[in-house]
Amino acid sequence: MTKSPIIVANGVGKAFGDFHALTDVHMTVHKNERVVVCGPSGSGKSTLIRCFNGLENHSSGNLTVDGIELYPDSPEIRQLRQDVGMVFQQFNLFPHLTVLENLMIGPMKVRKLDRAQAEATARKYLERVRIPEQADKRPAQLSGGQQQRVAIARALCMEPRVMLFDEPTSALDPEMIGEVLDVMVELADTGMTMVVVTHEMGFARKVADTMVFMEAGRIVETSPPETFFTNPTSDRARMFLDQILEH
């Protein structure tokens, strides 16, 4: 595996007033690496990956993504976001546009592709997430699982170099989680660099190169999945795994 770092967090901290959502986070994500971030709720997982594309501004430390050093209101942030795809817990599809238009609007308005090119790309990725037949529907007419797959396709249409997933299956009905995870596994197989915040430990076992465990805004443990799942070094991670793997 080539070891070129794409995301480098060096002592990153984030404070909301007196509350420290992130404290001294060190993390490196290399090209083609799949990192799964887990931890109890409120541990700062979402805040961390939202910092990676500037949806949150970190308040201390250095954060470099795709060679661009991030700081609040940095003018390069828009350029960066075009290359960093994001999938949200609540899908956040554009309800006034059809599925196809949801996928085309970024490439057309931001990448300035012409309509035919944008549509070809959109159809390609709709095929990839296995819902080409839904192209002309509105998001509200789709199931949650389908909406999340559209959201993944929307991010992919920008041809990103990294994909960030912020609890992509947490808002889904249980029977729809599988279809979304399948698409994500396939995406991982194509070699996409991915940072995934999730509680789906089965998925993590299958695709993760690195597991990151967070608690109270700090990274408690970073280890390969074999170690993490069988013999975690921290007691806290062991307790967490006991809690969620019991069921």
Binding site: L55, R78, L93, F94, H96
Partner: protein, 269 residues
């Protein structure tokens, strides 16, 4: 078996036949009161004079009467002012939401200033002060007054509409690299129209009604025409009833039209 509900006063009054009877009675009382009142004054009703102010046939053929001309002027005046007010209102709303301290300051000052001056005083300001200073005529003064006055209200409608779009939409737009302006144009504004349309209609109706005030600077719109006819004929009862009915017809048609558009809009989304 349906759950028995107690027979209450409200439920009786709300049935259609009772409502219609009540409505007819109320209207009858008003009409009767004004007629007997006028009778006691010895008022000489001349309704037959009114139609010629709508249209007349002369040797030159069909001619549009003064009231129709005035109605047209009111429509043009209101429409021009509304378009200008919308542009101004959008600008003020965007300034206020811009996150710039200066932008917000300017917007809030403008809003407080406009909202806390009586419309009539604002009109005098534009006509007697700014008019001579910048050299514009009474029509322009009227349009500007109405536009400025209503832009304050419209900007609040825009602000509320924009704020009612979920924050996740901003984040989604940002996450595909859109600028703030692009997010507004392609994502936020198209969605907020749905929230803005009903209060904006109300604002158009409000604007049409407040446009009557420009008659004090003799802009030749519907109300001014009414005053002119009365000063010629002394038929104040007939003319004011008629003018009121024309305003009512205009605003009702508008409300129905827009609610039809709204229904179509809602079924689309």
């Amino acid at each position: 078996m349906p759950v028995p509900r107690p027979v209450t006063f409200t439920r009786i009054v709300n049935t259609t036949p009772v409502a219609v009877v009540l409505y007819v009675m109320i209207v009858a009382v008003i009409v009767w009161a004004s007629y007997t009142g006028a009778q006691q004054m010895g008022y000489n009703w001349q309704w037959y004079q009114i139609p010629k102010y709508f249209y007349r046939f002369t040797d030159d053929g069909f001619q549009v009467g003064e009231i129709i001309t005035g109605l047209w002027a009111t429509i043009v005046l209101s429409l021009t002012s509304f378009i200008l007010a919308t542009v101004l209102g959008l600008g003020v709303a965007l300034l206020r939401l811009s996150g710039l301290v200066v932008g917000k300051g300017v917007a809030v000052t403008y809003l407080e200033f406009v909202r806390n001056i009586p419309l009539l005083v604002l009109l005098y300001l534009f006509y007697y002060v700014l008019g001579p200073v910048f050299g514009f005529d009474r029509w322009t003064a009227a349009v500007l007054t109405l536009a400025v006055f209503h832009s304050a209200l419209i900007s609040e409608i825009f602000r509320a509409g924009i704020n009612s779009v979920a924050n996740g939409q901003w984040e989604a737009a940002a996450s595909i690299g859109m600028s703030r302006a692009q997010a507004y144009r392609y994502i936020i504004l198209p969605q907020s129209v749905r929230f803005m349309l009903p209060p904006l209609t109300g604002e158009v109706v409000h604007l049409i009604k407040s446009s009557a005030i420009v008659s004090v600077i003799a802009v030749a719109e519907l109300t001014t025409i009414g005053r002119n006819i009365i000063s010629d004929t002394y038929m104040s009862f007939e003319v004011w009833f008629t003018i009121a009915a024309v305003y009512l017809a205009l605003t009702l048609v508008l409300s129905f039209g827009v609610s039809a558009v709204e229904k179509r809009f809602q079924s689309e989304t």
